[in-house]
Subunit: 361 residues, 2 copies
DNA sequence: ATTAGCACTCATTCTTATCGAGTGCTAAAA
DNA sequence: TTTTAGCACTCGATAAGAATGAGTGCTAAT
């Protein structure tokens, strides 16, 4: 990860300096100004030679013959991989605020992620996106059915970690409370303790076994169980900080910007990207420009990290920003944020999944 | 509403023609092209005279001395008030699709509004916003408490219309299911049948009466009731169609665009605007440019309409677009959409508030 | 009351010239 | 062998001028 052997230390320092001043100014950086600002003990001419080498390696380009140098995507990639020291001065700042916001009012799992996403967008001044925790690997603890009216019931689904999801669903016919308890009883008996994935299989087996449903309630229970399982695995995506994004993301054309948002609004595309991040598994991932599988996102970079519960990935959070962004600080913020979510979802004491602390006066 | 006496019929026709071609082309419209396209039996010179009159009235301007005319905000206002016939050819189109989408999968109240907002954004190709139904005037039917873990419970709140809301909350201490039933029993006994507003008062009175809470459960119940009431009145705002908006909303500066989104992301400001719409009460409202109380929205227009349940306003839905927008069609779409929501929330049969029809194969 | 004609205005577009930051290359210095 | 100084060259960006043409206002004729 650290020492990339292609170029020597000096060239690396130059590359870093170029990228960092380019990120700052947004303008192609020339050799003379670079020597002024940075304390290299080298003349512009020497810098130019190094620049030429870096250009041969494909890490820099010139927009036109007589302009300064601009980093290429490959250049950013190299910079991110090899030039950013692990320990930087950007690590403070985030956590206190975030924690503060979360501690003050308790939320359910999705709301926590949404809040944190918003927080991340604010602190990074960037568009921020996340997928809500998925409970595919979470173990079901209990299901309660609350009659609403007619054949409609509200299902309250609780995982072993005390994470709650709600869904409205229609039964085949109105049942009495007593019958509803029977139905949820069936479900709890057969599915409690299993992950959503396992439970789904069990439901299917049960349905097959009891094809000629000997008990209407049992059949209803199985059907309800199935719907619940299907809904459980649905993904929910949060997008926060549109206004921040508008400020930062300068695009070739306005249409490109619109296409980006179209892509972001398209669940499937985002899921695709998030999956990519999760497959890597090793903390913060940086996806630069055309590395992104989604074409509409070729003009921007994404910094994202999965967050875990008990060692398993349950979701992803990250930011989308211009390729020309301040990676060290953003990477650090995303890392912190993902770790924070991991901590929240892993801590055992029940508070993490509650919404609405009744204030004691 | 219809006949505004300031200008005569012919001038009105000219104004309408100018605004409509301007909306179409986006360029100042001159006298000669206007006579070509439209079948006025008048020469350019005459049109110019009429234009000059309209300019004196403040309904038109010229960007510079020798350009065509452009409508002023006042011009749009006059056009909207006096020139748009009530019946137009734009009334078809929306309803079928929307209904289709809603009928296929059932949702809870907020989700319905969110879906419809998205639909409105798509069909109008505009940024679309809405406030979720507020139940301040809705009557409470029942509250159920489902234990989650420890002292955390999930409250399922059901209104008399079968509309459901969920919230997690922490009790003072863990209670058994039996005790929880007692607590919800108290709440249901004291608050069922009252509107949120009335219930809130009752809670306060109850608390005062039983200051030296003779029953812990009772005290807990009252506290829970209070929290539920407070949460019930919270507003939730939906914003859909950012990508559409980016396409349409051309702004003086990009900063102005960002400011607009900042304003939209600011709940309080949006609520302020929505309140304005609701106070008018008479169907679709058009807020043009600087008529908007929110400064950041001076560069765009908003077309919005409250939606009702049983004659009472419970929320608002609308679109935000450029001042230069095709008002007749947008007004019609917003109107249709609001009426649709009104119908959905007013229809008695229980389906409208259900989420998750269990498909019969 | 309407229209034709004409002089005038002024944003837009195109051309041309200038400027200057920055490079590459070569030859000298270290 | 590496670094530096010097110089010619490139090319975007800016500015100034000239031509274009759509559109108006005004006046006089219909």
């Amino acid at each position: 990860m650290s020492a990339n052997p292609i170029i020597d230390e000096r060239a690396r320092r130059v590359l870093t300096a170029i990228i960092e001043t380019y990120v700052e100014t947004g303008e192609p950086v020339g050799s003379r100004p670079l020597t002024k600002k940075h304390g290299f003990n080298l003349s512009p001419a020497t810098i130019r030679n190094i620049m030429a080498d870096l250009e041969d390696l494909g890490l820099l380009t010139q927009p036109h013959t007589s302009a300064g140098r601009v980093p290429t995507e490959k250049g950013y990639r190299y910079y991110v991989d090899a030039c950013i020291g692990a320990g930087d001065a950007f690590k403070e700042r985030l956590t206190e605020e975030t924690q503060y916001h979360l501690e003050s009012v308790r939320k359910d799992a999705s709301a926590i992620v949404q809040d944190v996403t918003q927080e991340l967008s604010r602190s990074s001044s960037q568009l921020s996106v996340a997928v809500a925790p998925r409970f595919l690997k979470s173990r079901l603890s209990r299901v309660e059915l609350v009659p609403v009216r007619g054949a409609t019931v509200q299902a309250v689904v609780i995982s072993e970690e005390g994470i709650v999801r709600n869904m409205l669903l229609d039964l085949n016919e109105p049942y009495t409370s007593k019958h509803l308890r029977r139905i949820s009883g069936y479900i709890n008996r057969h599915l409690a303790g299993y992950t959503v994935r396992e439970a789904r299989e069990r439901v299917i087996n049960q349905v097959l076994e009891h094809k000629a449903a000997y008990d209407t309630l049992m059949a209803e229970a199985m059907r309800v169980g199935q719907v619940i399982m299907e809904r459980q695995s649905e993904d929910r995506i949060f997008v926060e900080g549109v206004s921040e994004a508008l400020q930062r993301l300068k695009f070739r054309s306005r249409d490109a910007l619109r296409d980006l948002f179209r892509a972001i609004e398209d669940k499937h595309l985002m899921i695709q990207v998030f999956n990519m991040v999760e497959e890597m598994e090793s903390g913060v991932q940086v996806i630069i420009g055309s590395e992104n599988p989604v074409g509409e996102m070729h003009d921007c970079a994404m910094v994202a990290s999965p967050y875990l519960r008990e060692g398993r990935v349950i979701g992803t959070i990250g930011v989308i920003g211009p390729v020309r962004m301040h990676y060290p600080s953003v990477i650090s913020m995303v890392d912190r944020t993902a770790r924070f979510l991991t901590r929240v979802f892993s801590q055992e004491e029940g508070g993490a999944a509650a919404d609405g602390h009744i204030g004691k006066p």
